[in-house]
């Protein structure tokens, strides 16, 4: 079980020293920041963009718990019997953009708006060939935990 997990969305993250950060894009005319990267500004209608790193930490802006097994295209491979509810929310990054993400916490029913959140990777799927797939996620940072 020590095989490497494959990332379902490799273009959304980039190395930042020894860890990862999210990557979006920035309109070269009005400066609006987007995630995922795009090529059409919905504010000023410009079409030239530059890569823009978004960082790896933010604060929780809103949250919910996905309480039932989503239909396709969700592909975790779970069944109604094995499904585990997961957290979903928006995390506000330092630039002000809010990123929608799966959320990880010891008790996802006790998440709170304003909590500090840290980017991580979450294994969410094992396919028919046994390949493990991961996606980006944000993990609640406990106030008294040591920084990594």
């Amino acid at each position: 079980m020590n095989q490497q997990a494959r990332l379902s969305c490799p273009h959304l993250v980039a190395p930042d020293g020894h860890s990862l950060q999210l990557v979006g894009s920035r309109c070269t005319r009005c400066g609006e920041i987007y995630f995922p990267s795009c090529h059409a500004c919905t504010r000023c209608s410009h079409t030239l963009f530059e890569v823009h790193p978004l960082g790896a930490s933010g604060i929780l802006w809103s949250w919910t718990v996905q309480g039932f097994l989503p239909k396709s295209p969700y592909n975790s491979g779970e069944t109604e019997a094995t499904f585990k509810p997961y957290g979903v929310g928006y995390v506000e990054m330092p630039s002000g953009i809010k990123i929608e993400s799966r959320l990880i916490a010891d008790d996802i029913r006790r998440l709170q708006i304003g909590m500090p959140m840290q980017l991580t990777l979450e294994n969410y799927r094992t396919d028919e060939q046994g390949q493990i797939w991961s996606t980006f996620a944000f993990c609640a940072v406990l106030e008294n935990s040591d920084a990594q």
Partner: protein
Amino acid sequence: MRNDVAIIGVGMHQFGRTEGVSGLEQGAVAVRNALLDAGLTWQQVGVAYGGSQDAGNADALTNLLGLTGLPFVNVANGCATGGSALASVIAAIQSGMADIGVAVGFDKHPRGAFNPQPSQWGLEDWYGETGLMLTTQFFALKTQRYMHDHGLSEDALIRSAQRAFRNGSINPQAWRQRELSYEEIANSAPVSLPLRKFMFCNPGEGGAALVLCKSADAHRYTSKPIIVKAAALRSRYHGSFEVFSPSLVADAAQSPTVTASKAAYEAAGVGPSDIDVIQLQDTDSGSELIHIAENGFCEHGEQNHLLRHGQTDIGGRLPVNTDGGCLANGEPVGASGLRQVIEICRQLRQEAGRRQVPGQPKLGYTHVYGAPGVSSVTILQR
């Protein structure tokens, strides 16, 4: 009276689940009932606009109603399909294109939550595959943030659902006609917290249709015409918080509901305090409560008080969703907005039976909001 257009006929096919009857057939039943109500035949209709999300092309209705050569336009505008069809018929009649117009919506959705495909929304596959592409999540996330910002209580969410099912229980055409207790709603399964099972509407089936003409001609067909004082449609803005958003830009903008509402009040020359009976989009209880404020009927945060004191009940100061709304009627997307208009027509015509709002209501209001970020508002007058 300038260039006003009137609703002279309303018709529905029962909402809910009707095995063995296609969505298209349900749309045809709705049109036939609306024509019967107006005392007209399909051969007299000069223009039609209609749509469904999952039940086929509306212009195929001509195969069931009659191939008369009329211009029939298919409308595909998400949750605002009905509202868009209505606004289009009004514009067609005002322009002189036709004397009699029909707006129709119908649908037949599979059971359970919708399962949209990312590519159809301009999104990448990972968004759906990793479990982020659910409408229910969006409504929960919007409600959760609103509760935080404006102190909206869980009590108000429960009372809103309770009122919907109470009104549905006295509406013989509602899908859900069983009244639910406060505890039953409060303890129902968490679908997407803070929203629970009985706080969400279900995709369903049904049909709804309207027949319209110039106000000046309306008394030829009915003694109770309903004048459309305003029909406003708006789509989302840069910064609106909408469904299926992998991110939200730094600065928030208002919802299209706010601007559609303002445009409708301005066109009708009235304000929220003039309205006697109200239909608001209640995809879920949280949405309905947000919409009470976004449409100008209360301040943000005032909803707790309104709900606790029964002010949105049929006998209250602001009667909301008197037919039970989407919670009790389900949401066949194409038909849902026109159902709202029909309920207001019935209220203004004093034909709402046990759910009739007292005091002879004169002005009614309808509001649809949904994917992909569209709002449609009408103001109707007896």
